[in-house]
Amino acid sequence: MARPANQLSNDACPRLPKGVRLTHNEAQGGWVLLAPERVFKADVITAEILKRCTGEATLGAIVDDLANTFAAPRERIHADVMNLLGGLVEKKLLELD
């Protein structure tokens, strides 16, 4: 079912599903997200978020980790993560366990 970004639960464990992978490619100049017949360029921040979406860490823990690692305000990170991941869930590029 469709889930607006603000309904992603902090206890959910986000994970890239089978057939979606994040990879770094020199010739393409950076991080790319590969999906069925589609390629998305990913900036460094997106890559840092997606690297942590292993299905093991909760959304809340991911936000905490990013806030600590990058010494950034937690509310801002939370909003950015929710926006990014909500969009990816809608495009079937991310699953929430």
Partner: protein
């Protein structure tokens, strides 16, 4: 021959036509009328080398296609080679001739995604379009096997006059098969589709209705399935950015090893295509005359030359400009700004209830 002087950007995708053999006879097939013979097909080792070269060039995804890729007995080795080269692999299949055993093998070899074509939600119509009795049943069965293996599934539905009234039920079918993605691909008139154009062409009203239906299906099923649509350009105002621009994003390798900027490029006279048996993929991408022919914007005539959209749609399709207006350098006649646009209107109006010329060698 002009070039824009800048080095060519790295391509993203490779369409690997492994064979032109196929059990089906779909009248809209994009393969050329002159199909490559089996004994001219590139062998496994050559494909493996080509995949390694593709990865070095920066290519990220390979689309294993044809004809019917499952007609290749070495398909598992080919998938393995794509995986070993670090390419993301998509199998573009009719599912007819693909057994569950082979599917399991190629999943084990690292295949990333399967796209299955379905000709119609109405099974009798579907088998009639494919020219193969029982095709629809086989496709649905293999779709189930793909999902069981945990591989993502896309359903590709080519839309034309015979099935355009069933866009809604075709999307519902894709949902019921647990596809994560469905492509509503309005026919593009190249190869066999061009030959069968009068039999395939829908009316403008049918197309407008289908476009509206896709929009509301997208809203209805947001988050459940991704609906990608390929627009029917004969009824458009502006042309499509064909293959993302000539020699910019992708390349196509025929079963016999010829490298093309797009699957229809051989219709344009005077282009020199290079073969992977003789040149590396990098040399072909950067230096082959066929790729240089329409790269950038220097080759353009008016109205494209000074059009604000020229870097957006690249003047549309070179092959279509040649086939309809007789000159590969002019604006794609699909564009309402093309002086040849009236030809497209005439062609779209030339609909006939006529039998299909089924694809065959």
């Amino acid at each position: 021959m002009t070039t824009n002087g800048a080095s060519s950007p790295a391509p993203l995708g490779l369409l690997a036509e492994l064979t032109h053999r196929c059990p089906l006879g779909c009248p809209y097939c994009s393969n050329p009328l002159a199909l490559d013979k089996r004994d001219h097909e590139l062998d496994t080792a050559t494909w493996a080398r080509v995949f390694r070269e593709a990865a070095s060039l920066g290519i990220l995804q390979v689309h294993l296609s044809g004809g019917e890729p499952a007609a290749r007995r070495d398909l598992p080795e080919i998938v393995r080679a794509a995986h070993d080269a670090g390419l993301y692999s998509n199998l573009i299949t009719s599912a007819v001739g693909l057994t569950p055993q082979t599917l399991l093998k190629i999943a084990d070899e690292g295949l990333d995604h399967v796209q299955i074509s379905i000709q119609d939600s109405d099974e009798i119509s579907a088998d009639h379009i494919a020219g193969y009795k029982g095709a629809s049943t086989r496709k649905r069965a293999i779709a189930g096997e793909v999902v069981k293996l945990g591989l993502p599934l896309t359903i590709n539905m080519v839309v034309h006059r015979a099935n355009i009234e069933r866009v809604e039920s075709m999307v519902e079918l894709a949902l019921s098969l647990a596809a994560t993605r469905v492509e509503i691909a309005h026919v593009q008139y190249y190869g066999w589709a061009l030959k069968n154009r009068a039999a395939l062409m829908p009316t403008r009203e049918q197309v407008d209705k289908a476009v509206r239906q896709v929009e509301s299906l997208r809203a209805k099923h947001r988050g459940q399935i991704v609906i990608d649509a390929v627009v029917p350009d004969y009824y458009a105002r502006y042309p499509k950015p064909c293959v993302g621009g000539w020699g910019r994003r992708s390349l196509n390798i025929t079963p016999a090893g010829r490298v093309l900027p797009c699957h229809a490029a051989e219709v344009i006279p005077g282009l020199e295509f290079w073969n992977v048996r003789e040149y590396s993929l990098a040399d072909i991408w950067h230096a082959s005359p066929a790729f240089a022919a329409f790269r950038g914007t220097d080759w353009m005539h008016e109205p494209c030359k000074s059009c604000p959209r020229r870097d957006q749609d690249f003047g549309g399709c070179r092959c279509q400009a040649f086939m309809i207006a007789g000159d590969a350098r002019v604006a794609d006649p699909v564009c309402h700004l093309s002086p040849h646009h009236a030809l497209v209107e005439q062609l779209a109006a030339a609909r006939e209830e006529t039998a299909y010329s089924y694809r065959s060698s």
